[in-house]
Symmetry: C2
Subunit: 161 residues, 2 copies
C-alpha cells in the first residue's frame, strides 16, 4: 500500500475551490485530506489529531464522517476527470463535486494514534452523479463503512454574500 | 424558540466521557455542542467558525454531519434519562450513547455566519437503541436532514492503551 498519495485530486482544484475545511489545500486550519488512485480504487490517508477524541483513546465519529465525505467528493472528481481523459497532475482543472448525501456505519471504535486509510469504490449513477462506497481502516482493522453520493457542483453553490 | 439551551445533557456527562471533540465540555478545542429539550423534541444550536468552510460562503458538510452526530447521541441520552425518571440538571449522571450509524442528506448549501439549529425527533427502537431524526436549519431555512442510530455505550468502547 502506498504511504503517501502522490497525485491528489485536491492539489488540482482551482484556488476558489480549495478552501474546504476537510480537503482544501489553502485552508490552513483544515484537515488537508488528499485523495488519489490506487489501482481502480481510491485512497485517502489521514491520522487524526489528539484533540479529535470521542472517548479518550478513540477517534471522534465526526472526523471519520468528514474523511468519508471529502474522500467521496475527491474520488468522484478523480473518476470524472479520468472519464474526461485527464489525470490528477496533468495540469487540467478537475471537476468539483459536492455531497448530496453521506452515510456512515461505525463498525468498531477507531483507535487514536493510528493512521487511517479510506479506500473507495466508484460507481457512476448519472453523468453528473457518482456513488462512492468507502471502507475506513485503522491499520488492518475495518472500523467504518460509508457511502457518499456526490454531484457535480451546481451553480446554486455560490456565495450570495 | 430558545436562544440558548439551559439544561444541556452534555453538562451532566461524567468527566471521563466529556472529552468528545463534538460535544465534550472538557475538550477545549472542540465544538461544545449542547443539547436540550424543546417540548418533546430536542435542540442544539451552533454557529460554525469561519474556518469551517466548504466553498467560501458556505458551511463544510463534515461540520453539519458532526452536529447531527452529537445532537443524535445527546438526544438519545436525554430521552433515556427522562425514561429513567431524570432530567438534565437534576445531578444524576445520564446514560452515554455512541453512534451506530449516521445519515445526512444535504438539501441546500448552508450559509456561513448564520446560527444553525438542529431539531431532533426521537424514537425508541430497543431499550438500548434510539433513532433520532434531525433537521438542521440556518435561520428559517432547512439545509440538511439527518438520522442517527444511537446505542448505549458498550463496554468495548474503552481505551485499550
Amino acid at each position: 500500500m502506498e504511504k503517501q498519495v502522490v497525485h491528489a485530486i485536491q492539489d488540482e482544484y482551482p484556488d476558489d475551490f480549495a478552501w474546504c475545511y476537510g480537503c482544501g489545500r489553502l485552508n490552513q486550519e483544515g484537515h488537508h485530506f488528499r485523495t488519489g488512485w490506487q489501482g481502480n480504487k481510491t485512497i485517502t490517508m489521514y491520522t487524526p489529531d489528539e484533540k479529535h477524541t470521542a472517548i479518550p483513546g478513540f477517534v471522534y465519529g465526526g472526523i471519520i464522517a468528514s474523511l468519508i465525505d471529502c474522500h467521496g467528493t475527491g474520488s468522484a472528481s478523480l473518476a470524472l476527470h479520468r472519464k474526461n481523459g485527464h489525470e490528477a497532475g496533468d495540469g487540467i482543472a478537475p471537476p468539483r463535486f459536492v455531497t448530496a448525501s453521506l452515510q456512515v456505519d461505525f463498525i468498531k471504535p477507531t483507535p487514536q494514534g493510528t493512521p487511517l486509510t479510506a479506500i473507495g469504490t466508484l460507481q457512476e449513477i448519472h453523468p453528473k452523479k457518482w456513488k462512492v462506497q468507502t471502507e475506513v481502516y485503522a491499520g488492518g482493522t475495518l472500523c467504518a463503512r460509508g457511502e457518499v453520493v456526490a454531484v457535480v457542483m451546481p451553480s446554486t453553490f455560490r456565495a450570495s454574500s
